[in-house]
């Protein structure tokens, strides 16, 4: 299976810079996600990998070979489109057989690929239906089967689950991942849903405003965000700003221990579920919502609000004062230079 290398790619549309200096590499057989808010350039980057767009600068390498000027039909890639983009006049079978037929794969081989894929996707009974007659989830599967029928080394997914309802989304998500493990293709998966990215990926590339702002394993992205934007975009985050003196930052809730001796103005971040009841900090409960496995608590003090997620068997009343602590190694210092882009 191929690996993918993107080097210093820039994409301009007229005066507008949709991607700037994007570099990333994916090793063979890995599943990576491009995560970011709507409009940050995810689809543009995917289109550059597929060959629908040509970058204004930089290069794309598949298996170490430059493909920047290669046409889409000559690349070892297949795309799963956000709108599925099925051929509306072809039935399910012919949609899936389209790629092999265009590539002049032998008839028997095409037939066996199509029937294997259709049964793998649970679409056997629908093979003569037109796409219009299928549900969203079924269309999604046809789109996936159609892409896989050309046996691509690199599969590109553009928010494939965004048109499905929540329950189906979880199911198709794990189906995609196990198919990928089984067939071994390299996958580039685009999403704006951080939960999807964390759950599926070997590596996450977080984009904002056309740049990669952080990349890494899901755990590292989640627990060690580098900037305020990353902290905010991935999950819920509590942020405090101020100087750090002898390993602690003074917050309205009390002294928060930080793994760093002295720093002038800095910003720190910790996750709601890192907190535990009992400790040097305290605040007044302004709301507490029971979520089954956990209790979602908002504490206020001096006009500031933070969020805690503690075990669901605890019981807290609104108005009650609660003391809590955050382990030192769960508090990370972040750069706070991209405040302006945080809500982009």
């Amino acid at each position: 299976m191929p690996d993918l290398d993107i080097r210093n790619v820039e994409m301009r549309f007229g005066g507008f810079c949709a991607l700037s200096d994007v570099s990333l590499s994916v090793s063979s057989g890995k599943f990576i996600t491009l995560l970011g808010p709507s409009g940050c350039g995810k689809t543009t980057l995917l289109n550059i990998i597929a060959g629908f767009l040509h970058p204004t600068q930089g290069s794309v390498l598949i298996n170490g070979k430059g493909v920047t000027s290669l046409r889409p039909e000559n690349r070892d890639t297949a795309m799963c489109f956000q709108s599925y983009a099925l051929f509306p006049h072809l039935n399910v079978h012919d949609n899936v057989a389209f790629g092999p037929r265009q590539k002049r794969v032998a008839r028997a081989e095409t037939q066996s690929r199509v029937s294997t894929l259709l049964s793998q996707m649970g679409l056997d009974l629908h093979s003569t239906k037109l796409p219009n007659a299928l549900s969203g989830g079924q269309q999604q599967r046809v789109a996936l089967a159609r892409a896989l029928a050309v046996e691509p080394g690199l599969v590109l997914f553009d928010e494939p689950l965004s048109n499905l309802d929540a329950k189906l989304r979880d199911q198709v998500r794990s189906e995609i991942r196990s198919l990928q493990r089984e067939l071994g293709f390299t996958a580039v998966y685009v999403t704006h849903d951080q939960a999807e990215a964390l759950a599926m990926s070997d590596e996450v590339f977080l984009l904002n405003g056309g740049r990669i702002v952080q990349s890494g394993k899901p755990r590292d992205i989640y627990f060690k965000p580098k900037t305020r934007f990353v902290a905010d975009f991935i999950g819920a985050a509590n942020l405090h700003s101020g100087p750090i003196n002898s390993g602690a930052m003074t917050t309205p809730f009390g002294p928060l221990s930080v793994d760093s001796p002295n720093l002038s103005m800095s910003t720190v971040c910790w996750r709601p579920e890192s907190a535990a009841l009992g400790g040097p900090l305290s605040g007044v409960v302004s709301s507490a919502a029971f979520q089954g496995s956990y209790l979602d608590v908002f504490l206020t003090k001096d006009g500031e609000t933070i969020r805690l997620q503690i075990s669901g068997d605890q019981h807290l009343e609104v108005g009650q004062t609660v003391s809590f602590g955050v382990p030192r190694d769960r508090v990370v210092i972040i750069e706070d230079t991209d405040t302006g882009q945080a809500n982009a």
Partner: protein, 275 residues
């Protein structure tokens, strides 16, 4: 407040009345006039003709130039439709799929022939054709019809082209389709209804076109509308005019029904593939 069934009844009555006034009565009158027996005249106070026969139809068919006129009209229209489509498609593609500076203005300019009165275009068009040395009236009128009606074809086709889904085009390319394969998989299904609709519109407009055919063709080259005019003007013969009117109208109504079907199947929901 009025109950809904009652309101529906009133609306239905209005609709039927309008249909009767606009379509059924004129058409029935034309039909009756065309079948007035030449031997017995139909005059006040008779509400219906005293005797009906197909005599007028026979006379018109055998003695007038209706046959030639029909041949002219029905050989002009299909060719005009074909040429308008072939010449209009590239422009429509540009309007529907590309962005370029001045596109908005170009689209408006393209439509201006539609709002000019037919005779204005006809008179000046005729003089251009003469100075260009066009001596065949058939080709002059054909060219005129193509020029006059291509805007309609371009308009319809550019909507069709804009409905071609970009992602479907990309999907076809991605899966290895040749340019022709991409056309067949992504373009053709989306533009097919529009192509037929545009063809039929030009066909119908060409069949009905009077001003240009009259200015260029008269007196020797007749089409169905110009022959109709000749029965309304100097020597007014109502039954003969009625025969020609029916010959002119009935095929067009049938074509219009086909057209309506095509326009319905040109529904964008059928080509988007989104669910």
């Amino acid at each position: 407040m009025m109950s809904l069934p009652r309101l529906n009844t009133i609306l239905a009555t209005c609709l039927i009345t309008t249909l009767v006034l606009w379509i059924v009565i004129p058409f029935a009158m034309a039909l009756m006039w065309s079948m007035v027996d030449p031997g017995t005249s139909w005059s006040y106070p008779d509400i219906l003709p005293p005797a009906l026969s197909f005599e007028r139809w026979r006379i018109m068919w055998e003695t007038s130039s209706l046959k030639t006129a029909m041949f002219n009209s029905y050989s002009l229209a299909p060719v005009a439709g074909m040429i308008a489509i072939i010449l209009g498609a590239p422009t429509a593609y540009a309007f529907g799929r590309l962005t370029f500076p001045g596109k908005g203005i170009a689209q408006i300019l393209m439509l201006t022939p539609i709002v000019l009165p037919g005779f204005v275009t006809a008179v000046f068009f005729a003089s251009i054709l003469v100075s260009l040395g066009f001596h065949s009236r058939y080709f002059a009128i054909l060219l005129g019809h193509v020029v006059l009606f291509m805007p309609y074809a371009v308009r319809i086709l550019s909507v069709s082209f804009s409905q071609v889904n970009n992602e479907v085009v990309n999907a076809a390319r991605d899966l290895g389709a040749s340019p022709f394969g991409v056309f067949r998989a992504a373009y053709w299904p989306a533009i097919k209804p529009g192509l037929f609709a545009a063809y039929l519109i030009v066909f119908i407009l060409s069949i009905e076109e009077f001003a240009l055919a009259f200015v260029i063709g008269s007196p020797t080259f007749t089409t169905v509308p110009t022959i109709l005019y000749s029965y309304l003007g100097y020597d007014f013969i109502r039954p003969n005019a009625a025969v020609v009117a029916i010959v002119l109208v009935v095929p067009n109504v049938l074509l219009l029904i086909v057209l309506e079907r095509l326009m319905q199947s040109a529904n964008p929901a059928n080509v988007s593939g989104k669910g």
